[in-house]
């Protein structure tokens, strides 16, 4: 049993926290686990946190003031013109945003909010004064949805103010490292959900629903700043794993022991859907939505296994199949997405729930792919190297000479190797040529097809009463049969005025 054992035999110590606490470390945290990383940075952070809190408080005070003054002025002051508003915003951007928003929570508003009503939207008028934090149309939409969601809640206004102030304060922290940003956001999530539970007496389900909306609002607004930030090497890692997956293109279902039979149409359909879903993850902004893609991908995988094996899939089937799907999909910005979800998703969702389970498996799949070697695929390391370097492929076995190098002579071995390489290259060139020929003939087919289409379009536009003679008149028309060139002779043409002639003006 043990002899069949395969696995990625990575050194545990590589993965563990540098402090030796036994947790997994993370290169992003200088090789420490989250706990040690926190401790390591606690003092520094405490100061930062105090400052943040002061800032948040200041913003809140400004809001209150702005809200109060707005209330006094409501009757006398009609709509502000975009221009004067612009001036105002230059100095008091924060408070002017709040004005429009707080209106919604005040009972004096009678008309319900129109979904795309511009006046509500504090950011729609062009405002060059805003920093990179200027929310896009998407985040305006998110703000509106968030407010709509919170309106019926007793504590809605309070929650919105907190979230808004916090989100604004994050903009001043762009210089901060990604993990510190993550920690701020996580602390905020935790604190808010605790308060929702204790102060506002929300049930666990209610709190979770509110927290989902909080995450959606905040992360839609912060996405651009905190996804794959420049302060990290996320992008480098993205490229590395992408390259790695491309180099592993030759890995087969059998090597991974994936219990999926793609000959069955429903299975191959599920496989395609799973691939699509995991690729789609990159297009989502909110961590929860990204997780949703992973979960959908996983459900398709379970279906593929179920149909193949004619019974429900277990954890033992799922992980290898997920690895296979990730290899086939090579999802864009895979590491960035994993990091982003880890940093900014609601922790309870990530740690305990079903989404978290699939996400954890995805993390394992990526770790497996990164460390994978010949043994993990039941190959000799020679085979693995050959496949990795493209000199051989499990689909087209290497040339006959490969294994028969004469024992004594190292030089001969060298020659053999060279020959093998040449054969390999020759075969590859052959395939390239084949593809090129295919492309050429495809192009020709395509040209013909386009020509035919043009012709049929022209035909459909030919006036019924057209003079049949017209067809033959245009000798240069590409298609002879009954088609009419645009410039062909036509009786009506005689009624048209003569064409304009260019005139020369004396300079």
């Amino acid at each position: 049993m043990m002899s069949q054992r395969r696995g990625i035999h990575l050194d545990q110590s590589e993965l563990l926290c540098k402090k030796g606490c036994g947790f997994y470390g993370n290169t992003g945290w200088q090789g420490l686990c989250s706990k040690c990383w926190r401790e390591e940075n606690q003092r520094e952070k405490q100061k930062q946190i105090q400052e943040d809190w002061a800032l948040a408080e200041r913003l809140q005070r400004e809001e209150e003031e702005a809200y109060a003054s707005r209330h006094q002025k409501t009757q006398s002051q009609p709509a502000v013109t975009p221009f004067s508003k612009f001036e105002e915003r230059k100095t008091k951007e924060k408070s002017s945003k709040v004005n429009t928003v707080t209106k919604f929570f005040s009972p004096s508003i009678k008309t319900p909010p129109k979904k795309d009503a511009a006046p509500f939207d504090p950011h729609s008028s062009p405002s060059p004064s805003s920093s990179a934090s200027r929310p896009s149309v998407d985040s305006d939409h998110a703000t509106r949805e968030f407010i709509d969601f919170l309106k019926p809640l007793k504590s809605g206004r309070e929650v919105f103010k907190q979230c808004r102030a916090f989100t604004e304060s994050m903009v001043y922290k762009r210089e901060m490292g990604a993990d510190e940003l993550s920690e701020c956001v996580q602390d905020f999530y935790q604190n808010l959900s605790e308060r929702l539970q204790t102060q506002f007496k929300g049930s666990s389900d209610q709190v979770e629903t509110v927290m989902d909306e909080v995450e959606k609002y905040m992360m839609t607004r912060l996405y651009k700043e905190v996804f794959c930030p420049e302060t990290t090497d996320d992008e480098k890692k993205d490229l590395a794993i992408q390259k790695r997956i491309r180099a592993l293109h030759w890995v087969t279902i059998e090597m991974l022991c994936v219990p999926v039979d793609e000959e069955i149409p429903e299975v191959s359909d599920s496989v395609v859907k799973a691939i699509t879903d995991v690729i789609e993850m990159d297009s989502k902004r909110v961590p929860k939505a990204k997780l949703g893609c992973i979960t959908r991908c996983s459900k398709h995988i379970f279906n593929a296994i179920k149909v193949s094996k004619k019974e429900a899939a277990s954890a033992d089937d799922f992980l290898p199949t997920l690895i296979y799907i990730v290899l086939k999909a090579n999802p864009p910005r895979l590491q960035s997405n994993i990091q982003y979800i880890t940093r900014f998703c609601n922790p309870s969702r990530l740690m305990t729930g079903e989404d978290g389970y699939y996400f954890t498996n995805l993390c394992c799949a990526v770790a497996f792919i990164e460390k994978l070697d010949g043994q993990s695929l039941n190959l000799t390391s020679e085979e693995f190297e050959l496949y990795m370097s493209g000199q051989a492929s499990p689909h087209w076995p290497q040339s006959a000479g490969a294994s028969s190098s004469s024992p004594g002579s190292a030089a001969l071995t060298q020659v053999h190797k060279g020959l093998d390489l040449l054969t390999g290259l020759g075969e590859r060139q052959e395939r390239v040529m084949e593809k090129a020929r295919q492309l050429e003939s495809d192009l020709i087919d395509w040209t013909d097809e386009v020509e035919q289409k043009v012709q049929s379009v022209l035909e459909s536009f030919t006036p019924e009463a057209q003079n049949p003679a017209a067809a033959t008149a245009g000798g240069t028309a590409p298609a002879p049969s009954g088609a009419s060139a645009i410039d062909s002779d036509n009786v009506e043409n005689e009624l048209l005025p003569p064409p304009l002639q260019p005139q020369v003006f004396a300079g």
Binding site: R5, R6, G7, I8, H9, L10, Q12, L15, C21, G22, F23, Y24, S34, K35, R38, I49, W53, E183, Q186, D187, Q190, N191, E194, S204, D205, E208, G292, T295, R296, F302, K309, E311, A312, A313, S314, A315, D316, D317, F318, L319, P320, P347, S348, M351, T352, G353, E354, D355, G356, Y357, Y358, T360, N361, C363, C364, A367, F368, K371, S376
Partner: protein
């Protein structure tokens, strides 16, 4: 697709084919399937609501891939777990050595995770006492030493299975209650800072 809210993460750990999947299958679906495919029955993740007093606790039960080829990554799995059911086969002493390994791992890395030692396939030794390779009392001593609970179950007959998961849910409920009152005490002391109160291991 709104998934069920889950209160606590429970991971199934143990050597390959000790009966982790069967245990979940028996508990959640009240069945034990025999046949050539029996080790592949059951879902990988199950959310299971359990009545504890007048409350309902939802356990998220995480089954793990048993193959040793993924063992290096299993820590990613049990991170943040509130309970771990460490399984060993009562008829296979080597599986108990693996169980000891998991216990050590958990003690080092997940201080909030309660450990449940679970000897599986008790129906087999009921039929033939000589098959037993793991002494009940030795294990009981070990469990007390490490502050763990100890069960012997059979997924085939269902013996002790409900009791095991019920205990997991009850312990979680008690711990959560205790935890909340502890938190209150901290809050009173550090009112100002409580806004940013932080701890990474207490979700």
């Amino acid at each position: 697709m709104s998934a069920m809210r889950v209160d606590a993460k429970v991971v199934m750990l143990g050597k390959e084919s000790v009966g982790k999947t069967s245990l979940v299958e028996r508990y959640v679906h009240h069945r034990f399937l025999v046949g050539p495919y029996q080790n592949t029955i059951g879902a990988a993740f199950v959310a299971k609501p359990i009545q504890v007093g007048d409350k309902v606790i939802t356990l998220g039960i995480w089954d793990t891939a048993g193959s040793e080829r993924y063992e290096a990554m299993s820590r990613i799995y049990y991170r943040g777990a509130r309970a771990a059911i460490v399984c060993y086969d009562l008829t296979d002493s080597s599986s108990f050595e693996r169980a000891r390994f998991w216990v050590k791992e958990l003690q080092n890395c997940e201080e909030h995770c309660k450990i449940y030692l679970c000897g599986t396939k008790s129906d087999l030794i009921l039929g033939d006492k000589n098959l037993r390779q793991i002494d009940y009392h030795d294990t009981q001593d070990f469990a007390e030493e490490i502050g763990a609970q100890h069960f012997e179950t059979s997924s085939k007959t269902g013996n002790n299975v409900d009791e095991l998961f019920q205990k997991v849910a009850e312990d979680y409920n008690n711990a959560a209650f205790q935890y909340m009152t502890e938190e209150k005490g901290v809050d009173l002391g550090l009112k100002k800072d409580s806004y940013f109160y932080s701890c990474c291991h207490n979700n």
